[in-house]
Amino acid sequence: MGKIFEIRDPIHGFVTLNEWERDIINHPVFQRLRRIRQLGLTDMVYPGSMHTRFEHSLGVMQVATRMFNHIKERRSDFLKSELHFNDDGLRRDKVLVRLSCLLHDVGHAPFSHAAEGLMDKDQLSGKSYKHEQYSAAAVDFLMQDVIENHPLNQNYHIKAKEIADFLNGDSSVGRSLLWRDLVSGQLDADRADYLLRDSHHIGVAYGYYDLNRLIATLTVAIEPDNDSPVIAVEEGGEHAAEALIIARYMMFTQVYFQHTRRAYDYHSIESIKALLAKSKVQAGKEVFPAPTSKENVEEYLKWDDWKVLGLISAGEAGKNGKIMMERKHHRAVFETPETPRAEDQEFAKEIQDALGSKVAFVDFASGSWYKFEAADVPFLLQPGHTDEQLTTLSTISSVVKGLTTVNRTRIYVPMGKKDEARETVAKKRKEREEKR
C-alpha cells in the first residue's frame, strides 16, 4: 500500500494521496499551478479571489475519487454485467481517473481562462487549441517519467499518453470514456469543486450546494434511446442536482460574467498579447505556441501569473497593463437582458453602430469560458427495480426546466468616454421607445 499523505483543504478537509501522486505533484509542471490563479483578476472585484489552480486540482481529484467509489459500490453488478468491467479493470480505471483529474489543468495559461483566446490554431481544423490540449501535451511530453516509472505503477502500467488521451477524449481510451463525465460533464468533479471553492474564497454563497448528497445519489445507467452508458443521478438526488445547476447559474451571472470582472479579462488578454508580441516567442504572432512539440510546451509553460504580473509591473504591457495597475478599466455602457430576444440583439448592434469608434470591445456570454447553457442531467427513476427508467432532471424539476441559456451581450467603452457614450445609449433608447 505504501505511505499515505494528507493535505489540508478548506473545502474537503483533507485530500489524501500516495507516494506516486506526491511525486507527480512535486513535478515542476504541477508546481507551476501554484502560480496560476483560479479566476484570473477576479480579485479586482472580489478581493478574496486569490486561490490557485493548484488547490483546485487536488480538490477535483478528491471529489472524482468519491464519485467513482460511490458509483462502483452502488452499481458494481451493473458495471460488470452490462459494461463488462471486472475488479481489476475498475481498480485501474480509478487510478486513471484520479491522475487525469489531478492533471486536467496543468495546461492553463496565465490568469486561467482569460488567456484561452491567445492559444494558437490547429492547422488542420482551423480551430484554436484549448487548455485541455495543452494539459494533455504537457502530460505526454514532460511527465512521462514521473508517471510511468514509479514503483506503484507496476500494478497498473498506466502510460502518460493514456492520461493525455483521456483528457483529450480520444477514442483509444475505449470503455473508460464512461468516466470522462466525471472530469468534463454536467455533474463533473471539476464543477463540483470550483463552485464550492470559488464561493469560499470570494466570500459569496451563490455556489453552495449539497455535495455529499449529490455524490450519494450518483449512478450509472444506459440511455434507452441510443444504448449508451451515462453517469446519472438517481431518485432522491433531484434537489442536490437542482442546487448544483442553480449554483452554476448564480455563479455565472454574479461572478464569472460580472461586468467589471469581464473588463479585466479583456485587459489581461490585451496585456499578454502585447507581451507575446514583444517576447518574440513566435515571430509576428501574438499567440502562445501550439502544443505540438516538447519545445513548444516548455516555452508555453514558462508563462505564468508571476511572469506576466512582473512584466506588467515593469511597464512592459502597454496601455492595458497601465489600466490594470491604475484600476481604470473600460466601462460597460450597455447590456441586453440575460436571455435577449432577437430584437434585443439587433438593438445592441444599433447601439454599437451609434457609438462607433468609442467602442472598446463587445462581450458575449456565449464567448465566455464559464457559459451558462440550458443543461439537463440524466435522471434514474426507480433505481435497482425492474421498472427502472432513465429520464432527465428537467422532466421532474420545474426549476431546471425553467432555466434558459444566458446570452447577454455588453458593450464597453474606455473610462474617459463613459459619460458621452451613456448619453448616446440613452438617446437611442428614447428613439426606440418613440418608435413603439
Partner: protein, 191 residues
C-alpha cells in the same frame, strides 16, 4: 474578446433549417439526433458550423449546440416538445418564427455547398433513429481520430474501438455500420 458585434446567426439558422427539413421526416428528431446530424454536417460534409464536438460514452457532443437550441426556441424558431418521459423524449419542430431565423443567415443556408450538404445529410441520415445515428457518429469520430494521428486504420481496428465505447451494440451491427459509412465514402480505411 471580440471588438465588434457578431451574432452567430449561421448556427441558429442551421438549427431552424434542420427543424424545417426534418419535420415529418424523422419522428425521433430530438436533442440526440440534432447533435449527431450537426456533427455529420461538420465532419462529413465539411460545413463550418462552429461547434467543437468532443467524444463521450454517448458519442460526439457539444453542449453549445443545446444552448443554441434553447435560444432558437426562446426566439420562437422551434418548439422543443416533451413527448414522453424517456431520456430522449424530446421532439424539435419548426415554430412560427422559423423562416425569420433562417432568413438571418440566408446567404449561408442558400449557399450551394450548404444546400447540397443539407440535401445529402437529410437523404442519407435524416430518417435514422437516434440509436443508429449514435453508432455512426461514434464510428466517424473514431475514424477521424485515427486519421488525425496518422495511425493505421483497418475495419477491425475501428470496429474494436467502437465496440469498447459502445458495449451494448453487437459487433455485427458495428461492422455493418462501418461498411455502410465506407460505401458512402464517409470514412476511409485499409481493407
Amino acid at each position: 474578446m471580440k471588438i465588434t458585434f457578431d451574432i452567430p446567426w449561421t448556427r441558429y439558422a442551421l438549427i431552424a433549417e434542420l427543424a424545417k427539413r426534418l419535420d415529418g421526416v424523422n419522428p425521433q428528431f430530438g436533442k440526440t439526433v440534432l447533435e449527431k446530424l450537426v456533427f455529420f454536417l461538420q465532419e462529413i460534409y465539411g460545413i463550418k458550423c462552429g461547434y467543437d464536438f468532443e467524444l463521450y460514452s454517448y458519442g460526439p457532443f457539444d453542449s453549445q449546440l443545446l444552448g443554441d437550441l434553447d435560444l432558437v426556441e426562446h426566439w420562437g424558431g422551434v418548439t422543443v416538445l416533451r413527448v414522453n418521459n424517456s431520456f430522449g423524449g424530446y421532439r424539435i419542430q419548426p415554430s412560427e418564427k422559423v423562416d425569420s431565423i433562417v432568413g438571418k443567415a440566408k446567404e449561408f443556408i442558400e449557399d450551394q455547398k450548404t444546400e447540397k450538404a443539407l440535401d445529402d445529410l437529410v437523404s442519407n441520415y435524416g430518417a435514422m433513429t437516434a440509436r443508429d445515428l449514435e453508432l455512426r457518429a461514434t464510428t466517424v469520430y473514431v475514424e477521424r481520430g485515427l486519421r488525425k494521428k496518422g495511425e493505421y486504420r483497418s475495419k477491425e481496428k475501428i470496429c474494436s474501438l467502437v465496440s469498447q465505447i459502445k458495449p451494448k451494440f453487437d459487433f455485427q451491427e458495428i461492422e455493418q455500420a462501418v461498411l455502410e459509412l465506407k460505401k458512402r465514402s464517409h470514412i476511409e480505411f485499409t481493407d
